[in-house]
Every structure is written in C-alpha cells, then in structure tokens.
Symmetry: C2
Subunit: 473 residues, 2 copies
C-alpha cells in the first residue's frame, strides 16, 4: 500500500475517471423539484452500480420516507483498524435561472481546468474524489488501509428529517469511529483548510393577500392596499436600517457569545476582505455592524430574502395593483439557536406586523438543521491537516463555515459521532448559483490528499472510539 | 328616425349582435406583448370588415408608427348637423395571471347576464355599443341624426405617443365638433354617470444589481448585499409609513388644490365606502391620510408597485442571495402634473437612494399621458346625461375617474376638441384583472342610451364649435 502506486494509477485512469464523473454530473438530481423524482432515482441507481463496480460491498439503497440513500462498505482492514464513515450527497440545487448559465447545467463542460455543471462542487465532486481514492487503493493494493462505510444521501438540499430518521434506524449499520464529511471545502481557492463549525438553517415561505382580485391602478389606486407595497413594508421591518441587525424579537437571545481568544485568532486568518469583495463583483460588503466579515459569516445568524414576487413580470407595463405577493426567507443559525425556535419567532414577528388591510398565510416552513461545532482537537483532524499540508505544500487553516451540512449535527446528536469536514470545494465555485464548477486540480490533488489521509489513519488507535463513546465527549 | 323602431330592431338582432361581439372578444389583441402582433392586425382587419359591413364609409387603417388605427365615417346628416368623433380602442391588457380566470380570457363566456373575456369591459364592449347603435339607425332610418366619425385605436393600453402623432397628422380627417370617448363608465354598477376628469399616468421599470452572480446564503450570508433586501429598502422609502404620502421630493409640487365647493359637492355623492370596500373583498381601505377615498382616487396622485420580483420563485426552498431584483412602478397623475416631470422626480429619488453596494439600471420609462379635466358645462354633456336619465330611470352623476384615457387630453391639446365620456363599463368589471366582464344589460341599455344621445344632438347648434375653436375655451 503506497502513495506512489496510487498516484500512478490515478494518473493513468484520469480520463476514464473524468468520463464517469461527467456521467454522474449529467443526471439532474434536483431534490427540491418533484418533477425530477425519476432523476433522483436514476442517480441513486447509477451510484449503486458504480460503487458495486469499484469493489464496495453490501451496496444497498436505504429509504426512510425519502429519496434513496446509497450505502456501501468495505470492512476487511481488520477489527483493530479504525472504521470511517464517508458522507456525501448526490442531490443538487435547482439550476434556475437557466439563462445565466454559460453552458447547460446538466451537460458538464470541461474548460479552463474546471468542470462546469450543477452539483460539480456541491457535492458530487468531493464524494467522487473518495470513490476514486477507494478504487485506487483496491486496484493497487487490493485493500484499504482502514475500514470504510459510504453514506451518500439524496435530500441534503431539501430536508434533514428523513436523514435523521434513517440514522436513528440504521445506527448499527452506520457504526464507525468517526465520520468524514465530504460536503465541505477550503478556506479560499488558494488556501486549503478544514472547517470545524457550520451554521444551521430554517426557512419560511409566505403570502400576503389584499383585495379579492388584482385591481386597475387607475380605477382603484389611492384607495386600496397593494399587496406588494404591504410586502415591502413587512420585509423592510425585518432589519434595522441603522446597524443591519435582524429586528425579529428574540432572534439573538440564544446566540452563544464568541470567546475573545477565538475572535483574536480569527483576526490572524489570511482573509483578504478586498479580494473577497472584488471576487464577487461588489463595490462594498454589507452586514451587521460591529462584527468582522468572518464573524458575520460564521458565528452571527442571518435572515435573507431568497425570493420575493408579485404583480406583473412581463414586458412593458401593466398598471395593476396586485392582490397577492410572496416571499421566501431563509435564516442561517448559530449555536445555540434551534430552527424550530427561530421559525416560531419569525412567524410571530410576521403575524404581529401584517400591514393594514392584508392577510398573511404561511405556505411552507422548513426547520432545516441545527448549527454545530465539531471538536478541533480530534486526532483525525490532525491526520487530515497533515494530508493537506503534504499534498498542497501550504499550511492549511482551521476555520468555520457559514453554510449548513445537517449530517454533522445529526451524526453527533444521534450516534455520538465526530466528523472531520474534508472536502475539496472552494468558496468561489458558485454552488447554489449559475455556472457552478469544480476545479480539476482539486480532483487530482483531492484524491492524493484523501489517500494520504486514509493511509495516515492506519494503526491510529487514538482515532477509535472508546467503549462506544465519541472521543470528544 | 325614432327610438321605438331602433329598440325593436336591436331586440330582434340581439342574438346576431352578441355572436359578432363574441367574435371581436375572441381576438387576443394584447398590445403590450409583441407575440400578439398578428392578433392586433387581425383585430384591426376584423373591425375594417365589420365597419364596412354596417354602412360606414371611408373605412381606413391609419398608421403612425404603431398598431393600425381604424377610421370610418358617415357624413350625410348635412353640414348643419353636428359632427361627432367616436373614440374607442380595440387593444386589451395582458390576460395574466391565467390561472385565476374561471374561463379562458379569449373564449368569451356568457353567464349570469354577463360576458366574461379580456377586453369585454375595457373597451370592446362600449365602442361596440356605438357600432350597433349606428347599425340600428341605418337599418331603421337609412341615416344618422348627426355626422359621425369613428376612431378605434390599438395602443391605448401601451403608449400614447403614436396616437398623438396620428391626431396631429390627421387633424383634417378628424375634424369634429366634439368627441364621444367610449372608454369610460359609470359611477357604480347601479349608478350611471359621466366623468369629467381623468388622471394621467407615468411608469418606470428598473433593476437593482448587487454581486456578479447569485450567492449561497450559507457561504456568503451576512457579508454581502442582497439585491432583494436592497429593493425592499428602496421601495419602502417611496411612501411615508405615517400618512401614506409619496416621499419622492417635489412629487406634489404641481398638484392643483381642490376648490372647497368641489370637495363639498363630492361629499354629497352616493359613494358608499363600506360597499366599495366589501365589493373588493377588503377589510379596510388604504391611502393617503387627510383625503376622502374619492379625493384620493380622482385628484390625488399615486405611486403604485405593479410588479416586483427577484430570487427563487419555484417550489420549496432555495437558499440563494439574489444578485438582481426588479420593480415596475406606475404613477397616476393629477392636474397639473406632467408625466415627464414625475418620471424625472422618481428617477432622481431612486438614484439618490440606491442602497449600499448596489447599482441601479432603469430598464424602461413610459411617460404615459397627461391628466385632464373636461368641461362640465358642455351642452353635449347635458344631452348625454338626459339620455342616461331617460333610459336608466335614475339620476346620473357627474364625477371624476381615477384612470387614464390619453385620447381626451390629446384631442383637447392638439385639436382643441372637447370630449364627453359616455361609456357603459362599471368599475367592478375587473378590467386589467382576471375575469374581466361586461354586463349584457349595459349592452342593451347602452345602445338605447347612445341612440337617445345621438338623436338628442340633432339640430343642436350649441354643441357646434364656433370658428374652429372649442366651445369651452
């Protein structure tokens, strides 16, 4: 079992590996859109076949009320060796707006050392890295350095409750010493790193109703409520114009204060505010006063408008007073907020502030997932950082992430499993946006890093759980 | 020439007349949508054939850079008789949102004594009344009591500048003593009346731009401007939350104060605020403090949000920070505001208040039309009121209207022509909204009223212009 042989195998097989990666990216496995149900199933089937083909065993499609979850394992490294649960998700975000894509979202386009496709960076690229690393060990050594279990789910972009049920039901099958969560990425495109904290998420969709029908702005304008005007008033009241704070009563009550030493440590991080701003095509950043951008991103909760609409959207002019308007809000949560608590607060705020003459209906609520912080002392984290340092030749950083990966909190809460978030995405790769891409360099170096990491875990007794309890508890 | 014969003819021909009305309503002559260009032409051709068929002469399709304008006349009443220019428009508003229609907008549905179709009330119904009245005179007496010219245009819902050019170019052809503008209606469904004032209109569409692309609310939320949040802030600043006034600087500067005696007279109008409110399915009315609903509707300018959108509008949740948001605003204007002046003020307000980190682009501006007040002393107005009183058996009211009919101001300004706004729509007939309808009772009584009105104009020297100047000047 040696890394040179693995490197050589991966170099030789690269073309074939990218072809099959393109196949995986071609499946429009959009979990949020019911019309893609067949594509979800097709993607799970594709993975079932692929995992079987590369030598994984017990390949199974598990279900717990939702989209199939792909499970597979290889447990022949010996009982003394650690067992690693590798997590990924094959579902992707909706690709809309389609007209902003330079190449179609489900026709992978290889250009400029990148592959452009919906799901390339979030998360098909990173879990595929681990599949090819597994294949490389098996093809060069006929074995893995540690026992591995793969769990690749299909509702990460949709909801976390089905995964939580499945993890509860399948606790025995998923038993491991710790998890490697591949739905993660680097600090910047140039600086590899591993995050040890994630924000939670909660979302609410609602409608304001005014008159029975849309009304003519001439015949009625000046006398009746306008559902769009009312929506603007209601939404505007969600943030303070002075300091950008969320004005929902109680919103910050459960937010854990940041220790001074952590704040100080973060000031030393190689975060270049100007470069960050320019990379997004912005003239200035924006957010809550009194916190640095990384604090606002990692340890401050947010309330964002993800969609608002009402009235006429066609060409030209339609002089209408809309009778309905719609909004989609999502919140990012930080310890110790809970999604249920935040949804209740937001709903109460909305209901208390319904503009005159309007009626509010809540169309959908998603208590998405809890915020989580993982141990920054876990020995497997050190192994992962060693691997990054070795392959990338720079000092990786330990940071937090602003996004949400529900599985980390679910594994911690239900199975007592620690997670190491070693994925190979970069924050500029347009996930959840048009023109999502994945760097092929990170496919190449990712597989070498994963191989280094897994090999480094061999014989490491300190990563093993003691008597079924997580190391960190 | 007698009204009994006309009544009898119209009763006998009713089925045939409604069949041909349904044909007219079936043509989706939507002027705002370029994909309906052929339907616009088809509607003009249908009218050309129809007008020729009922005995009108010199039937011509005029153009002045825009959709065809249908002209026709019958000038054999004698030089001593008044010449009346009858105005209507065959273009209709876009029918969207289609899913709120109970029957398809271009498949006329006759039910409950009404015909449901886009354009039924605005304005195909009312000008069709005059066509059938003309036909009835010709079929029963072989002549009209006065000279008539018809002008039926195809861009009323779109823009007024083509009509203004055409009226300038065709001044000789359009020469008349006064105009009857059929794009008008009653005070309420129960109370016939004639309006002597109309508001003007101006519209502006714009976009706010923030980051280069849509961004992930996890990876970026808390640090970057959200184009929807920015739009909400910008739009919210357009009205005072305290008193509902428009906060655009200078917006009210040109507004002509309402004389006390007019305000007092309007207090006597049979306007039932509760009934008005309930008819719209509202729990309360809404508007500028310090003015009655009819004042807000007739002599106060407004600024309405007619369309706002940005971000994700599909099912479920997409945790995106939108990089673009869009708004369509329309203003109703009152004397002595001008559309150009108001657009400049609104644009300046928007540009001065662009939220941090955003860029604004104005996508479209429509200096729609000027507000106008017509003479309430014109003898033809008395003739029209007499006809309403006679046919409907109740006292008609003279009021103002909140909507805009550009032709009234254009004929006044360019040709010095007074207008009498005798149309047969009712304010509850959902024009510009789903389920537009026209009452068949007002088709029947409308034709009798128009006949009474036109016959009453015969030999009335006092409605004639003196030496080419309008009576009212």
């Amino acid at each position: 079992m040696n890394l040179e042989a693995i490197d050589s195998y991966l170099s030789r097989a690269r073309g074939r590996h990218l072809d099959s990666f393109a196949e995986l990216l071609s499946v429009p496995s959009v979990s949020a859109d019911p019309t893609h149900k067949q594509d979800i199933d097709a993607c799970a089937e594709w993975l079932h076949a692929h995992l079987s083909g590369i030598g994984l065993e017990n390949v199974t499609l598990l279900r717990s009320g939702g989209n199939p979850v792909v499970y597979a394992d290889w447990l022949h490294a010996g009982e003394d060796q650690p067992t690693v649960l590798v997590y990924g998700h094959y579902d992707v975000q909706p690709p809309e707006p389609l007209d902003l894509w330079q190449s179609p979202p489900f026709e992978p386009s290889f250009r400029d050392g990148r592959v452009y496709a919906r799901g390339a960076s979030d998360n098909k690229g990173s879990f595929y890295v681990y599949l090819k690393t597994f294949e490389a060990f098996m093809e060069t050594a006929g074995a893995m350095p540690v026992n591995v279990k793969f769990l690749i789910e299909g509702e990460e972009e949709l909801r976390a409750d089905h995964l939580a049920s499945l993890v509860t039901e399948e606790g025995e099958r998923l038993k491991a010493d710790f998890a490697v969560v591949t739905d993660a990425g680097f600090f910047t495109a140039d600086i590899p790193g591993i995050s040890t904290g994630l924000r939670g998420m909660a979302a609410i969709n609602f409608t304001l109703h005014a008159a029975r029908d849309d009304l003519h702005s001439g015949g009625f304008g000046g006398t009746v409520p306008n559902a769009l005007h009312a929506m603007v008033t209601l939404l505007n009241g969600l943030h303070s114009p002075e300091d950008g704070r969320v004005l929902v009563e109680g919103f910050y009550d459960s937010v854990r204060p940041l220790p001074d030493e952590v704040r100080k440590a973060w000031e030393e991080l190689p975060f270049d505010e100007e470069e960050f701003r320019d990379s997004l095509g912005l003239t200035q950043l924006f957010g809550e006063d009194g916190y640095s951008p990384v604090e606002r991103l990692w340890v401050r909760p947010t309330l964002e408008l993800c969609g608002v609409w009402g009235g006429y959207q066609g060409d030209g002019v339609k002089t209408v007073i809309p009778c309905e308007s719609h909004a989609k809000i999502s919140c990012r949560l930080v310890p110790d907020q809970s999604p249920e608590e935040v949804l209740a607060l937001v709903r109460r705020h909305l209901e208390k502030n319904i503009p005159p003459g309007c009626r509010l209906s809540v169309d959908f609520e998603l208590p998405g997932c809890y915020p989580v912080v993982t141990s920054d002392k876990h020995p497997a984290l050190d192994c992962a950082l060693d691997a990054l340092r070795e392959v990338y030749g720079v000092e990786p950083v330990v940071f937090r992430a602003g996004g949400s990966v529900p599985v980390v909190e679910i594994l911690q809460r239900i199975l007592g499993l620690d997670s190491v978030l070693l994925g190979f995405s970069c924050p500029d790769e347009n996930f959840h946006a048009p023109n999502e891409f994945f760097r092929l360099d990170n496919f190449d170096r990712g597989t070498r890093t994963a191989a280094h990491f897994l090999l480094g875990l061999r014989d490491r007794d300190d990563v093993k759980r003691i008597a079924g309890r997580p190391r960190s508890s």
